[in-house]
Symmetry: C2
Subunit: 404 residues, 2 copies
């Protein structure tokens, strides 16, 4: 781990970077009295890029935003919660386009510079009268202090706002990166809709920004998302408006690693917040596989353990149950030699050479009863390493998801 | 579906075919006062074959039985519950071999004609003093009426015995197939230990028997087992002792389809019993995918739906939640065109052309609230079809698996 070359902005979010405004308002899509419409706008046209769900069934706003972002320019993001606008056919596409066009009109930019997102229940048409009202209300509420309100308006089953900002110096100018996210539904992270909006005032070109964002997503959100599979609406968007006035970050600029490190930190923090705020989660578990024959094998092994319902329910009961981990490793598809496998829970040896370790069961149980612990699996077959974050599977998770 | 050309033997099991004896006794491996040691023996050496877990981490008895079955001859099966003898290293292998050798000595056959199985907790050595006592007790208890007791002694979290027998005529001689099985732990069927022992008095050669058994397993246990992945102990064994005296079934004998059909029926019935006896299961769901681009795609789509924790918890709450099904189809890896997808619950249309169907929500909910229902998914892309059986995911499942 390199030394941190940035500082965290206290109470920071998407409006911490210069030249960004945001708002979060209530337009009535959700029945509950909660805000459900967010707008994040740059004062000037920004360089933009995005990472979208790999699910073949993509929500209408995902399709529309994927088209708009091709030109790598955007002025604003509008997002509603309460309705996913997914599985809504051509009418849904028209609704997403109308949302972009209306927001573009009030902001005075081309519709293609608007990025749209939705999250919530699948299969229902967006109530466009409410969305139209939301756009006007959101526009009027835009402010340099609106970051937290935007972060609040995209929440669904989240229990807390997820935002962060960091700043650092590039060529004597202060550069800031801010972000907010929403998640939840963590038993099968691939199906929880995840939205993340990142803003920065850095001067950076679209190609470099795109490369940096993809790298940061791979090390954060993709670590809580199994097999690259995602929900119908998952979206990460990033806008860079250049207001910091730093020397342009491009190609292999010497300050680029600093920017990357800060961005990695921002997305990792948000990813962890999403995991720990999962529905009914009582434990967050880091599953680290080392010594795999390849990185792909390490990932297969980590994913199999992190996704096993039997492993996760055992953890909910505070039971290490390493036998279930061994079984998951065996069917993961990764190369495994039983007699070489070592497993530790927070440094306490559970399995050594494929058999029960010498550690007293009580110490193992103590590790697994902590709200956060780390499982280290060494396959002793090569250099492949991979880490994922998962949770336990509790009765309250099932209760939550049994409802509508 | 061809007409059934066999009849079900009332109260039948592994001792229904001629020349088979069985017993189920208590040797004290389980703490509870329940039987935990089963023996199934043929009066004469039988033709034998088996299908074993594809998990790379294989329990010691699996390794030993895989070696023994290569010669396609066996006299008996011994199986204990309460301890899986998995992840027990070379000592575990020695224990499994000693079990086979001791049982062979009392039965008077070579140790290689003994097949051994274990099911229960992983990672603990077999208590060999108890196993030794079990072998003697099991041998003395062997009887032509012991099938049900053997079926009882292999149960772990199963709530009921699983056995069946069918008989039919081959060349004027009555041929019988009997079987028993154990399962449970159904959220992730690939991790529930499944054992199945099949006996028959048919005259059939090892090669033909092997082909028939594999075909029957593919259409039954592999339909409740995802991606061919299995637990460390899963085993299906079949013994044919030839006591029926029928004209030998071999190659493309005209009566072979009748034998296959009966065997398919036996294993399908047991597979269904395993699913419906899953821990905390309140609903059994048939997930049928048709119109996929290939059979492999149909299987991917069916497996993704059948394994989605979000889909299964929705069903536990009696909520069809077709949006979660659509999302699962989208990340399944199967080719999907959203606008072509149709989904029906017990014939009631939920999704038509990728969008919400016209059926009233109340009728859909009524389907999903039944203890058994069928989800039919048509991808309208080709001829690929595949069906799997799954269950809902309930609070009691989690409760059960949180314990040790």
């Amino acid at each position: 781990m390199r030394k941190m070359s940035f500082r965290v902005v206290k109470g920071g979010g998407v409006t911490s970077p210069k030249g960004f405004l945001a708002s979060g308002v209530r337009c009535g899509i959700k029945r509950a009295r909660r805000t459900d419409f967010a707008m994040i706008a740059s004062e000037t046209t920004a360089v933009a890029c995005g990472v979208f769900t790999t699910n073949q069934i993509k929500a209408a706003p995902v399709r529309v935003s994927m088209g708009h972002i091709r030109q790598q320019k955007a002025r604003a993001i509008v997002a509603n919660s309460g309705n996913a606008n997914a599985c809504t056919g051509v009418a849904g596409i028209a609704d997403a386009k109308e949302t972009a066009a209306l927001a573009a009109r009030v902001l005075g930019c081309p519709p293609s510079q608007l990025l749209v997102c939705s999250t919530g229940r699948i299969g229902r048409r967006l109530p466009m009268d409410k969305v139209r009202a939301g756009i006007l209300r959101g526009f009027h509420a835009l402010s340099r202090k609106g970051g937290a309100r935007a972060a609040g308006a995209i929440m669904t089953s989240d229990t807390m706002r997820k935002e962060i900002a960091v700043s650092f110096s590039v060529g004597g100018r202060r550069v800031t990166i801010g972000a907010c996210a929403k998640g939840a539904g963590m038993i099968d992270p691939n199906m929880a809709t995840m939205l993340c909006f990142v803003t920065t005032d850095a001067v950076i070109d679209g190609r470099t920004l795109n490369r940096c964002l993809r790298e940061a997503v791979d090390d954060s959100f993709n670590r809580i998302t199994v097999d690259g599979d995602m929900s119908t609406n998952d979206t990460v968007l990033m806008l860079a408006n250049g207001h910091a006035g730093n020397p342009a970050l491009r190609g292999y600029h010497p300050q680029l690693p600093r920017f990357q490190q800060a961005l990695d930190f921002v997305l990792k923090e948000l990813a962890q917040k999403i995991v720990s705020d999962g529905e009914g989660v009582t434990r967050v578990v880091e599953v680290a596989v080392v010594g795999a024959a390849s990185m792909l094998d390490a990932r297969r092994a980590a994913d199999a353990v992190a996704n096993s319902a039997l492993v996760k329910t055992a953890w909910a009961g505070g039971d290490p149950n390493w036998g279930r981990l061994m079984a998951a490793l065996g069917y993961s598809g990764a190369r495994v030699r039983e007699e070489l496998v070592d497993i530790c829970f927070d440094g306490v040896s559970a399995v050594r050479g494929g058999q029960i370790g010498r550690c007293p069961e009580a110490r193992l149980k103590a590790s697994v009863r902590k709200p956060r612990f780390k499982v280290m699996i060494n396959l002793h077959l090569g250099e492949g390493e991979y880490t994922v974050y998962t949770t336990d599977l509790t009765v309250s998770y099932v209760r939550f998801n049994m409802g509508e």
